[in-house]
Amino acid sequence: MISILNDNNLVSSNIPFFQIFLLLLIILLILIVKRFRMSIKHENRIKDFSIAPDEDILIINHYRMNYIKFINYLSFYFRDSVFLNKYAKYYEPYVGIVNNYYKSGLEFIISEIVFSILTLLSIDILLILNGYILTPFGFVMTILLSYGFIAFNHYKKFNNYRKEIKKSFYEFMTILLALLKDNSFIQSLDLVINKTKGSVNKELNKMKRDLEYGLSIHDAFVRCYERTKIREFNIIAEYIYVIPNIGGNTSDSFDLSYTTLLEKSKMERKVFNKTLGMYMFLVLLSLIPLFVFLNYLVFNYEYFFYITSTIMGRLIIFAIIILYLVYILSIRFIVRGSVRL
């Protein structure tokens, strides 16, 4: 009942037609690529005598730009969709950080959907060439897994960017505070940008651009928080707004925010150091199920053939995967729950 591949007689009798059609498609694609390569060869002969771009002409770049143009066209076509625009807001911070190709959150969502459809098509083609076809359950599973894979990839890249900023946050804050005593905010920001590199440099350049366009320091920090979702920027923005209304200066706001954030980081480090031993032990313990699974695969792989042939066995495997994920998430929640101000 729950199966990915279909072995129906009706479908298997028509598979040769699918296979012939796919072979013809593949031959067509090869001819198109060959024709394109001939045109590039001709272009390269004239290249030395014409105004050419700095990059060499590569086929993969051409297809990549065509793919991006296709996604731009689709995002223009779906620009009025309320459903997609609602979720595009969550992908706005990814622009410029995860990728330099996509300029809006909507394009990220559409690229993920297109990627999942392309994986589905490629898996379908490979299966048809071997004599199988996907059932509806397999159809849904491939779409979900491929969408999850690419979405997780994007999220991981963005999270690495955020972690880099968090690591070096207190370093550049100390330098900034030391420079604020003698310089204005933009001048001290310039001097800090020259000393930093990587993701911190990118983020501070964006802040500097906001200030050059005329925004206040409070708005610049708020926009920084909305882009990176790092709470330290929100706390600094709060203090910059509140303290002048209470009777203080901007230098008082920076000093007070720095002391509070230092205390927060001290508490976090205390918790981290005290729970580090237990966390390492639990991580090693979580590798034991994988070790057992690998043992079975290497020494007795027929174990899983017997289990997956029954419904009860598939339910047990599903329960094992769910329990494993719950275990990992619960340990992370208990031991590494964050300290928030």
């Binding site: 209470i246 009777g247 237990m278 289990i307 047990i316 329990l323 619960s330 208990i334």
Partner: protein
Amino acid sequence: MTKIKNKIDRLGYHAPLNYVKFTRIRFLTTLFLFIYLLFILTKDYFYAPIITILYYNLFRVVLVDWPLNIYIARYEREAIRFFELVKLSLTKGNNIENALELTAKYFNSELSYAYIAALIEVKFGKSLVEAINDMELPSSIVKNALVSLTKKELKSKNKLEVMDNVIEVLKNNADIEMQKRINKVPLQVLVVLLVIFVPLMLLIIYAKDIVMIFN
């Protein structure tokens, strides 16, 4: 009913249910669960009382106790930042009442909302001390800190010392709560290991035997 009412009032607008609805839903769901487990499952009569008692207590714990603990911890951490801002405005020349009013007006936190509600009562004729005593705050430490700040016997020179003491008390309390949380971690990890890890390993090892029993 009064115990639950007090806890739900402390949650304020974060509470999931009114205390009357809470008790009614809890009673009805435990009753239906008990009847279902006794008569419809037609298994042993051993599990029904145990599961219903666990459900009855977990209903309160999950919906009221845990959110209340998280809320109190967040409230006390925000109160530290509130009082640090009040101390800053005192050093710039304001008196206590103006400092509290300005920070409550411009600093977004639960304590500032409660203080603004107390100031509205002051406009209608109450004195500030009365309004602060009538405030219903989730944590008693913050309330005692506010009461100590607005006493009439304080002179202008001692106010900064009182502020320092208040902030020190709140920070020590936060350290103690953090230590308690760290000490609870081994117990929670043990529960997770017993409830999740041991069944997981048993499933992996005895999967084939379970399938053979069911087939």
